[in-house]
Amino acid sequence: MKICQVERPLVATNRIPGLEHRHLQVVKDGSVSSVAVDAVGCKPGDWVICVGSSAARDAAGSKEYPSDLTIVGIIDHWPPKGATA
């Protein structure tokens, strides 16, 4: 699982039917931006954990869901006390 920070929601009107109407978020892992399916409902600035590969499909709702990155949880406190971001 990856630790990412939510940047903002992503609007994509023209999408494949398999994606349904799920919310998408732009997340940042270091300097790399990617798009993740939001299965929990997070806000910009939240630190979240994201799963990849087949777990991403399952976490997004079904085995056939075409996601390769899904947000599965919001981290309560990050970075940990005493650590630098």
Partner: protein
């Protein structure tokens, strides 16, 4: 899911039967300059910013699991400010 820009359509007449008759596009990562080929079930145009699924999720995203791809365009991003390149 990765964020990429559509560079051009890709014509490839001689292909394996697993690739069927799906449309292909050349996508470019503007930060790294790396080019990739993806299946396009959406119908995007040159210059569009898109997000893609990779791995087995790409096969579900293609609409049919029997398509032998590892990268599929999932949707066109409505608004994406171009990063300074």
């Amino acid at each position: 899911m990765e964020i990429l820009q559509v560079e051009a359509p890709l014509v490839c007449t001689q292909r394996v039967s697993g690739l069927q008759h799906v449309a292909l596009k050349v996508l470019r990562n503007v930060k790294t300059g790396m080019r990739q080929v993806a299946v396009d079930p959406v119908g995007c145009r040159e210059g569009n910013w898109v997000f893609t699924s990779l791995g087995s999720a790409a096969r579900y995203a293609a609409g049919e699991y029997s398509v032998t791809t590892d990268l599929t365009i999932c949707g066109i991003i409505d608004y994406w400010e171009e990063e300074a390149s």
